[in-house]
């Protein structure tokens, strides 16, 4: 397969996944805003959300005072923000368009329809009327995109590069989400009082893990267990462990003459998750751990680009 084709497929998947995770994060923030809290705390949680995506400077450069609507506009519609949902879905569609011949008709039409519908929804003012409805829609389109991919694409290289993009991006996004939710609320304190219950429940819901948590632990919600669930539990589809397992498997399927080193790199990251306990991680500090994980995921992305795709820097 052409390196450029693989590159477009990889990024199509990453942007789709990124849009979904941004929608999840925004939605959970809107939900937690419904809880009683101080104005400062509310603002703090929006700032943390921008910080998670490394977008605070870009936001501050455009907007003076932080308001919910401004953050939503910036993170959803702003075409100058490459991480906004609109930018991500547009990029996903542009990448799909560049390789539409490699995609099944269904996959292409899903990407194209998402892009067309997004424009209509935003024009109709869904963001002012009911942002959660829009985020729900983004999630559904992302589910559909993955489902259509799995249901119609031949299981060949094209498919593996799409999956690689999906899980590398999800690993990154889950790690960021965890980091901001723990760091932002003084995760080291690890309290489990009433107000915090809603905070942690929202975190779980943002990764569709509330019911999973109950089923897995059959016990009260503690931050420590949440961290374990989202970092180390392979059964949990959005956990770092689940993502890295997929990354390692898909990397092995596209193996070429120069990719051994990259496979080893991914394997080490995966093994780290396998052989660590949540106690070890907490002792070291979750923030520290996640920061290092994010750096390594970033490095892994570069290596994949270098070995198979179009290198980020020529």
């Amino acid at each position: 397969m052409l390196s450029r084709t693989a590159d477009h497929l990889f990024w199509m998947a990453r942007y789709t996944e990124r849009a979904e995770n941004t929608a999840r994060m925004l939605d959970v923030n809107i939900q937690t805003q419904l809880l009683p809290q101080s104005v400062e705390a509310a603002e703090q949680s929006w700032r943390a959300l921008l910080g998670i995506s490394e977008l605070l400077p870009a936001f501050d450069a455009k907007h003076g005072i932080l308001s919910r609507q401004d953050v939503l506009d910036f993170m959803v519609c702003d075409p100058t923000n490459p991480s906004s949902i609109a930018s991500c879905l547009t990029s996903a569609r542009e990448n799909a368009r560049a390789v539409r011949g490699t995609l099944t008709t269904e996959v292409w039409e899903t990407q194209n329809t998402t892009w067309l519908e997004m424009a209509t929804l935003l024009k109709e003012g869904v963001l002012e009327r009911d942002p959660s409805e829009f985020f729900e829609w983004v999630k559904h389109r992302s589910h559909l995109s993955r489902g259509v991919t799995i249901g119609t694409m031949l299981k060949d290289e094209a498919f593996y590069f799409i999956r690689l993009g999906t899980f590398l991006e999800r690993a990154d996004n889950t790690a960021r989400l965890l980091d901001v939710k723990f760091h932002g609320t003084d995760g080291e304190r690890l309290s489990a009082n009433d107000t915090d219950f809603y905070h942690w429940a929202a975190v779980l819901r943002s990764v569709s893990a509330f019911e999973t948590y109950r089923k897995t632990y059959r016990d009260v919600i503690t931050p420590e267990r949440i961290a374990e669930l989202l970092v180390l539990r392979g059964e949990m589809p959005r956990s770092l462990m689940a993502c890295m397992t997929e990354v390692v498997n898909n990397l092995a399927r596209v193996r070429n003459d120069v990719s051994r080193e990259t496979e080893r790199f991914a394997g080490r990251l995966h093994a780290g998750l396998q052989f660590n306990s949540i106690d070890d991680i907490m002792r070291r500090g979750l923030h520290d751990y996640l920061t290092e994980f994010l750096e390594q995921v970033y490095e892994l992305g570069n290596r994949v680009s270098r070995d198979f795709l179009v290198p980020l820097v020529a």
């Binding site: 397969m1 052409l2 390196s3 450029r4 084709t5 693989a6 542009e94 368009r97 560049a98 390789v99 539409r100 011949g101 490699t102 008709t105 292409w108 039409e109 194209n112 329809t113 067309l116 290289e157 590069f161 596209v254 070429n256 003459d257 198979f308 795709l309």
Partner: protein, 471 residues
């Protein structure tokens, strides 16, 4: 619209022509609301599938649908048989001409064609002189624009021998008609066209360099912002070949390779949808980032095949066009089957004078123009437009030719006010490899504006499904 040949009705407009009777009966049985719904459905489907084209000069990245009209253009079997014969004859001669020009130049020696017409032509590529190409074929894919005028006789308006486009619309229009109105296809014996990609791939494989048994064929596109990108992607997918850009290819050790996820892979045949000028920055335009440095040297060594060959533009130039009937006589010793439109070559003094004297009645075209840009349609232009054009013509007479304004035939077409006659043309696609093949029919384009003679999609034209009825 009196005075024009109507494809569907006879001169009085009262009687339906025999080959349209079945369709006409069917159409009059259709409730108006059903037809309206089907038309909306077609529009939605084209948009969802993304069959769009980019428009140059307007806002970047804009994509527009080419309007699709549900009333087909129908050609009876006997008329198509004549057209097919004529097309074959014409394309064969054009290929013989290009080969001759880049080898012995017999046609110039014989005095049939003035030397300066060929060698001072911007489309003449000295780099091709003496180069042997597989089967001596240059224009592997030709799109010949045909119109019907006067009492119904066919004329060739233009030979497109460089990178003719539109075949994807021919295929998609048919698919759409079959989806919308399957009953029509049960009632008529309509010649199929869907095997075009197979014929194309077959031809491309047949021109592989000597000794390559299982050639790797690729389609080369300038990229997704090209107006015909949809077609490039579509054809590559239909043929199951890679869609490559210049950046995906490189030359090493005398061969062309593409960059793949498993390392370099050799490429044997390139169906390129990119102009000569951009193919190889080492030889042609140095500022081209679309091409492949060193491609021409591999091509000249016969280690990669290009379709179409480099330098075919010398034969489809509008200044060469008037000589095509003589070419046919010269190379094949046959009389041309298809008519040429009478043409005044403005480089000639007396022709220029005639043109200047009759601008309001003539169509004046740039010799190197395409896509309906930069032309004057006298009868449809204002006095100011004509005067403006007159100045450009006087400044550079050898850049233009003039032709009478042909009374193009019309075909009933859905417009806002209902069904009305609109002017149409026809572009059949002729494939030349070891043999000459084509699918019956081609792409019918229709000028949707009342009275307009310009059918180009970039100028607001639409398309129709084209039926060749089997006898």
């Amino acid at each position: 619209m009196g005075g024009f040949f109507n494809e569907m009705f006879d001169e009085g407009g009262a009687k339906t022509r025999p080959h349209y009777r079945g369709f006409d009966r069917w159409l009059s049985d259709q409730p108006a609301d059903i037809v309206a719904r089907k038309r909306v459905e077609a529009d939605l489907m084209f948009r969802r599938v993304g069959i769009t084209f980019a428009v140059y000069g307007s806002e970047a990245g804009t994509e527009r649908l080419i309007p699709f009209d549900i009333i087909p253009r129908i050609i009876p079997a006997d008329e198509w048989a004549t057209l097919q014969q004529g097309l074959r004859q014409r394309v064969q001669s054009l290929n013989l001409f290009v080969h001759d020009i880049y080898h012995e130049q017999n046609i110039v020696r014989a005095g049939v064609m003035p030397a300066e017409q060929v060698f001072r032509n911007a489309q003449y590529r000295p780099e091709m002189q003496g180069i042997t190409v597989p089967s001596d074929i240059y224009a592997h894919i030709a799109g010949i624009d045909i119109v019907r005028a006067g009492a119904g006789e066919f004329y060739v308006l233009e030979d497109n021998l460089r990178v003719p486009s539109g075949v994807s619309y021919m295929l998609e229009d048919r698919k759409m008609m079959m989806r919308l109105f399957p009953e029509l296809f049960a009632r008529h014996k309509i010649a199929p066209v869907a095997h075009y990609p197979d014929l194309l791939l077959d031809m491309l494989r047949s021109i592989a360099p000597l000794g390559v048994d299982d050639p790797t064929v690729v389609l080369m596109t300038p990229g997704m912002y090209n107006s015909a990108y949809f077609e490039h992607a579509f054809l590559a997918q239909q043929m199951g070949i890679e869609l490559v850009e210049g950046q995906d290819l490189f030359v090493d050790d005398g061969y062309v390779f593409m960059r793949t996820t498993r390392g370099p892979q050799r490429v044997d045949v390139i169906y390129r949808r990119i102009d000569d000028d951009f193919l190889d920055p080492l030889v042609f335009r140095a500022d081209s980032s679309l091409g492949v440095p060193g491609l021409l040297s591999v091509y000249r060594a016969g280690r990669v095949a290009l379709a179409n060959a480099i330098g075919t533009g010398v034969a489809d130039d509008k200044s060469i066009y008037p000589f095509v009937p003589d070419m046919i006589r010269f190379y094949l010793s046959e009389e041309p089957i298809l008519n040429n439109v009478p043409t005044w070559q403005c480089r000639k003094k007396e022709d220029l004078q005639y043109t200047l004297d009759h601008l309001p009645q003539l169509v004046v075209k740039e010799v190197h123009g395409a896509g309906g840009y930069g032309m004057l349609v006298g009868p449809a232009s204002t006095q100011a437009e004509i005067e403006d054009f007159r100045r450009r013509l006087i400044a550079k007479p050898d850049g233009y030719i003039a032709q009478p304004t042909l009374a193009l035939s019309v075909c009933p077409t859905y417009v806002e006010s209902g069904i009305a006659p609109r002017h149409i043309d026809l572009r059949p696609f002729v494939l030349s490899g070891k043999t000459v093949t084509m699918v019956p029919g081609g792409l019918t384009r229709v000028a949707l504006k009342e009275g307009s003679l310009v059918v180009n999609s970039s100028q607001g034209g639409g398309t129709k499904d084209t039926w060749v009825l089997e006898g």
